[in-house]
């Protein structure tokens, strides 16, 4: 059922049916099943209303900021502001304004071993079955159904990584997505499928060329860890400070498999990040980590779901936010344990460090537990810098400001320490410190 054009207008903004048809027309030949899905997604997108303040899933969010007006799919870009973070990689994919900009396979034996690092467009043609089985196969459960539909409808291109059975890729695969130009709307997507016993690390970087361009980024990822596989996923969001960013991440963990994902949030004016882990079979393990530096008038809204569907599964969530100036954060996390998921270990911890008097932190940690032989804890702590620790550093001659910086970096270390790759740890630490010391701590 489609609504009339007139009544559609407020709900679709710039993403009208005409815009959608133009988008379809601009695509190269792609399988019909995928185009049919995109059309169905557009209808869903157009029919769903924008979130309102009283929606439980958007509690505390600034829903007034969710506007779809004034954006357009951008033209291809000629150059990208790519800067290496100094980590050796097995492969690198760079996307600019939704289109592939460059693709380099750096580890010589990748192809020979059957590892696929390619664009989604190529994969839709050459690896259709695998893509069809996994691409956006998990429903959006955390409240952004309308935006997931928008993403699926307007998705131009993305990254596809498939590691076959038993293959371990030592060096990380880097994916870079840039949004360039005022009013640009991008829809990045990363699909990672690790077959039985495979191992891979993926770094997903999102950025703009400055902090003044107004942009819309509606992205998603799908991570699948097969039997005994291991995936490490590191995301870094650094969109323009005038961007509206929505990201929906889905992780499916199968028997004895393990996924570690660490997301670093620095950019955008208003960012909503949904992360959903399903522990589907015994021995599955999901570690969900996040670090956010919220400053000025940024709002970071993070919603998570850890769902345990089988016995002997484990999940561990640690989300740390540092809030400066007038920033706002929302963390809403739910752990669900199904009745048969005995011997589940599930942990969730949200820690907010308040570094200014105007900042606001909201926490909604949640539990729905239906099996009794479990260990589940959640915790949320919001506080300023510990005055005893601050005093201790001052008695060693370190001035207050420097002490607070040290302590804030120390606050983040706990999360970075979970990474086993030292070079990645060091690179991220440098990134945070640079971002941080660029601005004075507001006291």
């Amino acid at each position: 059922m489609t609504a009339t054009t007139a009544s559609l207008a407020p709900m679709v903004g710039a993403f009208t049916r005409a815009a959608f048809e133009a988008h379809l027309a601009s695509l190269p030949p792609l399988p019909e099943w995928w185009l049919a899905r995109k059309r169905a997604a557009f209808e869903r997108f157009a029919a769903l209303p924008l979130p309102i303040r009283t929606d439980e899933a958007w509690r505390f969010s600034n829903v007034a900021g969710l506007t779809l007006d004034g954006f357009a799919l951008p033209a291809p870009a000629r150059a990208v502001p790519f800067a290496s973070i100094g980590i050796s990689k097995a492969a690198r994919l760079i996307f600019a304004n939704g289109r592939l900009f460059s693709r380099e396979i750096l580890a010589p034996d990748l192809g020979r071993r059957g590892v696929v690092v390619d664009t989604l467009q190529n994969a839709l043609r050459e690896h259709s079955e695998v893509v069809r089985e996994h691409l956006l196969a998990q429903p959006a459960r955390l409240g952004s159904g309308k935006f997931s539909a928008l993403h699926e409808a307007f998705l131009v291109d993305g990254a596809f990584v498939h590691v076959p059975r038993g293959v371990e890729v030592e060096l990380p695969i880097g994916i870079f997505s840039f949004a360039l130009g005022d009013g640009a709307a991008v829809f990045p997507h990363t699909l990672v499928v690790a077959d039985e016993g495979a191992r891979v690390t993926v770094i997903d970087y999102f950025g703009s060329q400055n902090d003044t361009e107004r942009q819309l980024a509606v992205g998603a990822n799908d991570l699948y860890a097969g039997h005994g596989a291991r995936i490490t996923y590191v995301g870094k969001q650094d969109w323009s400070h005038q961007a509206l960013a929505l990201q929906s991440n889905s992780t499916v963990v199968r028997r004895d498999a393990s996924v570690q994902s660490l997301n670093l949030h620095l950019g955008a004016r208003q960012a909503r990040h949904e992360s959903h882990s399903q522990l589907q079979a015994p021995g599955a393990n999901s570690e969900m980590l996040s670090l956010t530096v919220a400053r000025d008038d940024q709002e970071f809204d993070q919603r998570t779901l850890q769902i345990h569907q089988a016995p002997n599964t484990r999940s561990d969530l640690l989300y740390k936010n540092a809030l400066l100036q007038k920033a706002r954060t929302i963390f809403s996390g739910l752990i669900v344990v199904d009745p048969d998921a005995q011997k589940t270990d599930a942990y969730q911890s949200n820690r907010n460090l308040m570094l200014s008097d105007e900042a606001e932190a909201n926490s909604l940690p949640g539990l729905e537990i239906q099996a009794n032989d479990v260990r589940c804890t959640h915790g949320a702590t919001t506080s300023r810098i510990d005055p005893e620790q601050e005093f201790y550093l001052q008695t060693r001659g370190i001035p207050k400001r420097a002490a607070d910086e040290l302590l804030t970096f120390g606050f983040f270390e706990e999360v970075l320490n979970r990474l086993s790759q030292d070079d990645l740890h060091a690179a991220l630490r440098t990134l945070i410190q640079t971002n941080f010391t660029g601005e004075k701590v507001a006291r």
Binding site: D55, E56, A57, R59, F60, L142, G143, R303, L305, S332, L334, P339, Q342, N352, M354, L355, S356, D357, E358, A359, E360, A361, N362, S363, L364, P365, G366, L367, E368, I369, Q370, A371, N372, D373, V374, R375, C376, T377, H378, G379, A380, T381, T382, S383, R384
Partner: protein, 479 residues
């Protein structure tokens, strides 16, 4: 996060949930009585209640306005359990005068109830009242001492009707201010048809040594469906109030919707202790809130063991500097029960502190839910909140949910919230069994240990009964 919670079906309820079940057969009625408001709720019912009580015009108007609010508000099933939809408001009797109380003979009381009384060591004289054999509890003889002391100190302790009629200058000021009529659908309902409950005023500096109990009210409408309680502790005074008991309390009325308002003026302390063990056919929906002024302290100690569904979130508005609010809560949910409890702490002044400790035990298919709200706005400094909620799941399909919401602004305030869910450790049970305890005894010990620090905060006689009650509940759960 889920916005709708699926309701579990109550496994063991045989009675229809609305109104009085006259088909069950073990209750008899006196047919000829003077006052009968009938079933269902309308403006006439409200007028009727007000006339019987000979209320002043302002109270009548208050009730009417509340009725309108109640009728205009929807059921809160967008966040609360859909089991609420089983309440049929038209079949409820909203007012029962003492002449109308249903009675039954002691022989008609079910055996397991009698056994419970025995196991809990309930005094003989109280058993008949609790079982619905007697309509009024004769408190005169037992508690006349307390009444005397209380009167000497200038403490006013009467029921709501008398309070509003005889002492409007004291109570009118705060009545309906801590919990406004429109706060929620059920506070509106209560505001329209309230009857019974305690109105207490403690003069400045008076520290009432003995806890005041609901039993002490003579002339009470003891089935307290829509009790309204208002306690005002004037500057520097202290008072403890207790209601309920661990013995299962019979009610033929299946909807209990009470409102409790507490006002602690500067430096005053109020402690409000509730032990709720309504029978399994009761919907127990209570709104409780306290207003704490400068350096005052309000403490809610709440134990929920009975009812089919309890929804209760005691709260404190910390209005004055250095005010303190605390909620201590123990909930036990067995088959067919849902304890949906929590706490609300609203910080509205500097250096206020709040503390919430909630422990719940889910047995069989019981379900315990914690909902919390902590709010600390900008421009406040030195505020702290600490929340701990722990859930113990005894059987495989026991269930618990936790939904706190915490908002903190500014860097001069701090909040800490921790929750955990676990089961009784098998190693611990084995160890106790190795020393000669049965599995059931071991479980009881373990569960009592879980709630021990909280149970100790209850007055002695309650905590003893509580332990015995838990033993009883646990017996069914093992094996």
């Amino acid at each position: 996060m889920k916005s709708l919670i699926d309701s579990g079906t109550a496994a063991t309820v045989e009675n229809p949930v609305a109104g009085i079940d006259q088909t069950k057969g073990d209750f008899t009625y006196d047919v000829a009585y003077e006052f009968d408001a009938g079933t269902g709720l309308s403006a006439r019912t409200v007028d009727y209640i007000s006339s019987v009580k000979k209320e002043a015009d302002w109270i009548r108007a208050f009730r009417h306005q509340a009725l309108q609010v109640f009728q205009s508000k929807p059921m809160p099933t967008h966040w609360a359990t859909r089991d609420l939809e089983n309440i049929d408001f038209d079949r409820i009797r909203y007012y029962l005068a003492s002449g109308q109380k249903p009675k039954r003979t002691w022989d008609e009381v079910p055996e397991d109830i009698k056994r419970t009384f025995e196991r809990l060591g309930i005094p003989e004289q109280e058993r008949k009242f609790l079982a619905g054999v007697e309509a009024q509890f004769d408190s005169e003889a037992a508690y006349s001492n307390i009444k005397e002391i209380v009167a000497k100190q200038g403490v006013i302790f009467v029921n709501s009707t008398e309070g509003l009629r005889e002492h409007p200058e004291l109570f009118r000021r705060w009545f309906g201010k801590v919990i406004p009529t429109g706060d929620n659908k059920f506070s509106a309902l209560n505001s329209a048809v309230f009857s019974g409950g305690s109105f207490i005023y403690v003069p400045p500096g008076v520290k009432v040594a003995q806890p005041l109990q609901a039993y002490f009210r003579i002339n009470a409408e003891n089935f307290g469906q829509f009790e309204r309680t208002l306690i005002i502790a004037d500057e520097g005074s202290e008072v403890t109030y207790m209601e309920g008991c661990t013995a299962p309390k019979f009610s033929t009325a299946t909807l209990h919707s009470a409102v409790v308002e507490l006002v602690a003026l500067k430096g005053a302390k109020i402690q409000y202790i509730t032990v709720q063990n309504w029978a399994n056919n009761v919907f127990n929906l209570v709104t409780k809130r306290g207003l704490a002024h400068e350096e005052a302290e309000i403490k809610w100690i709440d134990c929920n063991i009975g009812s089919r569904l309890t929804m209760k979130y005691p709260g404190v508005v910390l209005k004055g500097r250095k005010a303190r609010g605390e909620v201590i809560s123990i909930a036990l949910a067995n088959d067919g029960q849902h304890q949906d409890t929590g706490a609300k702490m609203i910080h509205a002044a500097d250096e206020t502190t709040s503390n919430v400790v909630s422990k719940s035990i889910s047995v069989g298919q019981g379900r315990a839910t914690y909902r919390g709200q902590v709010h600390i706005p900008k421009r406040l400094r030195g505020c702290k909140n600490n929340t701990e909620c722990d859930a113990l799941l005894i059987n495989t399909n026991s269930r618990t949910d936790t939904y706190p919401a915490i908002t903190v602004r500014g860097e001069r305030n701090s909040v800490q919230h921790e929750a955990s869910v676990s089961k009784v450790s098998e190693d611990m049970i084995f160890y106790m069994q190795q020393r000669g305890l049965t599995e059931g005894q071991a479980m009881s010990l373990a569960v009592n240990g879980f709630i021990n620090d909280l149970a100790r905060q209850f007055p002695m006689e309650y905590s003893v009964e509580l332990k015995r009650l838990i033993d009883l509940e646990m017996e069914g759960s093992v094996g």
